[in-house]
Symmetry: C2
Subunit: 510 residues, 2 copies
């Protein structure tokens, strides 16, 4: 009992009620249901074969000499005319077979470790938008203050198990040292595993060193126990940039997971047909994963799927569409064919926190879950096709993710829960509110919502007719007001701060 | 060519562009994917056994002497103390085995026939709310003008295959003849199969006669070709009202389908545990279906599931919750166990057309579809847990249903769609907008949205920052403005009007 509550009690006053969020304890989520297969086994083989032909007959433009050399060493050929790297299917399949089916990300608090692969599910909050918004101050360029607020929200919600990128670009920080501040905030404001961008080796190595310090482990232990991840996006079609490739190889050589996600927008960066877009996605993902396994056999990787379609009228990317859902589901089938953990996303293209934002997100979320996605990126706050991180959308996404988690807990069917005695006791036309069976269970019987409002219309109207976005606005501010940083050993904090200070002085503006 | 367009052409002016809705042609929708099973086979048997014990050991309160007599004739017993009808599992199983696995509803336009059972899916618009609303005029009591508007919208959307009740109560019409106006509007404003409420035999028989006239068939043909349906809700727990029972028996004797849907809100009208609520749902549904099969062996029926939970704080019903989703999925498993077509719903408890309305609806919709629901009721306009029919929500629901239909079309994987030639042609770093493969397909390549707005933020903002509900408001009015009633033979119209006039004079206020 704290001094404050003691003295409040002594004075006969009640202590200020502690704010408590409607959520279940942190736990590793699993999907106990069978995945949904949108294409049959034969179609999976056709997709596989087409992607192998792309790698064999067209090739990938790998913009790193080191990567090209490594691939040639392992049997690939450089097409003299295009300079693309062509690689036979036997080599690809042999290399990707070395990747683990499952791996665990080690958080600085071991109670927050999370596993990727099999039927595990992990939600991360939004990453990488240039802008952010809330209903109070509207849309603005990303900045470090908002960046920190998003991290705090990601820390508080137990449904979030990983921070897979900058929730918004902290664009007010100097570019050349921005990553140092960003990493320090990851470590101090959250205790969950985090992410470095593969933008060259310097940033990656700072991340590796800072996570090592944060966990208080040796380089060797860090290699055995992966703790940070990176996402490599190909520059579709068929091109992979140099910093991405080199960052990925460095991460892999340190035993840290690389998520390889082609961004194959059908009709723009890939064929207008889903099959063509998926074949290209598969070729790009497997080509880069094969390279990673050449650089570091057995390094953890994830197969990323991000096939969606453009609006053929405006050329705008669309998300959470039927095409997106089917591609996410087929992507899961491909990842399972290769025994690779699968990364998907919760995305939408709405410009505000309205019904569209929710229906497109739910389309993404259901397809991600039914695809057995192991990491569902952007599951908190993504808006505008990824150009804006919204505080209200984050809350709504947390509700949707929590609801999904609860849906993934099969109903218990037993003599106790079948409740024949209660049914007998209540009889025809009675009600169960007061029955002993209800009273013993009602407190935790059902999912408790964050912002869903189930009051009747009149009560809701009298209370101000607030829609879900407005209620989410109130909630995110309340959470931030009550936020408490997770404990961090003062020695470790000092070491991290000293590292950042030293590196800040060393790194020259680019 | 009309005179107007001819003269417009002659004058060198373009004719006024005809309004066309972004939708696919009418087609019977099927679900090609495997259903999602939330409980295992053993749990299904436990649920079955518990529901049989409820029927054997507790019984149902059947508030119709005719129904009780019929059940006793077929081997049921009346418990002397409670008066409940108890019935052995052998009798129940034998009776429900007579029900068809699948049946077709015959529309007055045969091109709008729809089939229930197997993997068929049929969407109906909202039914039975006392209120309706739109953004222009707010919330108001149901009335005949709004009733007709909803029917017109239901007729226009090809994704709707059945009108399963009054979309809103036309409360401004006199109670005793209201059904005559309601039925005439069903027939004249729409050409899709419709619904009569089982509120005593008079209303049911008027419906049977009017649909017979509308289709221009004999009673015998109508019996062979069901054309209207009714939904029987039990008065849970374990009670069934007299007009419901008698209407159901009359419908069945005329060969028309009866949907039996217990409304088992866990924690209120059924046990707080999902297993208990489902056991009770199953007992009530099978008990009434057995009665129907006693009245008319082989009559078409549907197994209805409507188990959700109450908010244990306020006692308000909640919809589209994780509990709702799991109950809908388990309900599908039960319906399949008995070989019965399955009815589910698209529901939510929001008080406005916001993100909550959409996420709860998508939770309902995905679970209904993954449960292999054959009729998904309330799939256009339901709001406030069914107390309000919203015009904007109807449009948004149509978008969600259309998107689901598109998701249920597996991607075609073939040499053509794998598009290797296009991938080869475009090469690394190119784009597919201008490729021959894209140009040949772009017009119908992707789902075309009704109200989703995929423009970038700046363009959207300049155009007025309208959210999805506001855009839906514009669209529903535009559709109504361009609505044209489906053709109806003038002789049939005359006969219907004469019937209504005669019955209006005959029926005395109750």
């Amino acid at each position: 009992m704290t001094k404050r509550t003691r003295s409040a009690k002594r004075a006969g006053r009640k202590p200020r009620p502690k704010f408590s969020l409607a959520q279940r304890p942190f736990a590793q989520l699993r999907n106990p249901y069978a995945p949904l297969e949108v294409v049959d086994a034969e179609a999976v083989e056709l997709l596989h074969d087409a992607s192998m032909r792309i790698l064999e007959e067209v090739g990938l433009e790998m913009l790193s000499g080191e990567a090209r050399e490594l691939m040639v060493e392992h049997g690939a050929r450089i097409d003299p005319k295009s300079g693309y790297v062509r690689i036979g299917r036997e080599i690809v399949m042999e290399k990707i077979a070395a990747a683990p089916r499952e791996f665990t990300l080690h958080a600085r608090n071991p109670a927050r470790n999370s596993t990727y692969g099999g039927n595990h599910i992990n939600f991360s909050i939004v990453s990488s938008p240039p802008n952010c918004s809330d209903l109070d101050h509207g849309r603005r360029a990303g900045n470090f203050e908002d960046y920190c607020k998003f991290l705090k929200l990601g820390q508080v919600f137990n449904i979030v198990s990983v921070i897979a990128g900058y929730p918004v670009e902290p664009a007010d920080l100097p570019v050349h040292t921005r990553h140092l501040d960003a990493y320090l905030a990851f470590i101090t404001l959250s205790e969950k595993p985090w992410h470095v961008y593969s933008l060259g080796n310097g940033r990656v190595e700072d991340g590796l060193e800072m996570v090592r310090i944060a966990r208080g482990v040796t380089n060797e232990q860090l290699r055995r126990e992966p703790s940070i991840l990176t996402v490599v996006n190909t520059n579709s079609p068929l091109k992979v940039d140099k910093p991405m490739l080199e960052g990925a190889m460095t991460m892999a050589r340190h035993g840290q997971p690389v998520v390889v996600t082609p961004f194959t927008l059908a009709g723009a960066m890939s064929p207008v047909t889903l099959a063509g877009a998926l074949a290209q996605q598969n070729a790009e993902a497997l080509g880069v994963i094969a390279l990673i396994q050449m650089a570091a056999p057995g390094a953890p990787v994830m197969y990323g799927g991000f096939t969606s379609n453009v609006d053929m009228k405006s050329g705008s990317p669309a998300f959470g569409t039927p095409e997106y859902a089917k591609a996410a589901l087929a992507g899961g089938q491909l990842a399972r064919r290769y025994g690779l953990p699968y990364r998907t996303s919760n995305v939408n293209a709405s410009n505000c926190v309205d019904a569209q934002a929710a229906w497109e997100s739910e389309m993404s979320l259901w397809s991600a879950v039914m695809a057995h996605g192991n990491m569902i990126k952007h599951s908190g706050g993504w808006l505008e096709g990824g150009l804006c991180a919204s505080f209200e959308k984050l809350i709504i996404d947390m509700e949707m993710a929590q609801m999904m988690a609860e849906t993934l807990a099969p109903p218990e069917v037993s003599e106790e829960t079948l409740a024949l005695d209660a049914i007998r006791e209540v009889g025809a036309g009675g009600h169960f509110f007061g029955s002993a069976h209800t009273i013993a269970r009602y407190e935790n019987a059902f999912y408790a919502p964050l912002v869903a409002d189930w009051r009747n219309f009149e009560t809701w109207q009298e209370a101000g007719s607030e829609d879900a976005a407005r209620r989410a606005n109130t909630l995110f501010k309340k959470i931030l007001e009550h936020y408490e940083p997770p404990p961090l050993d003062p020695g470790i904090r000092e070491e991290l701060e000293a590292y950042v200070a030293r590196r800040r002085a060393e790194i020259r503006p680019e």
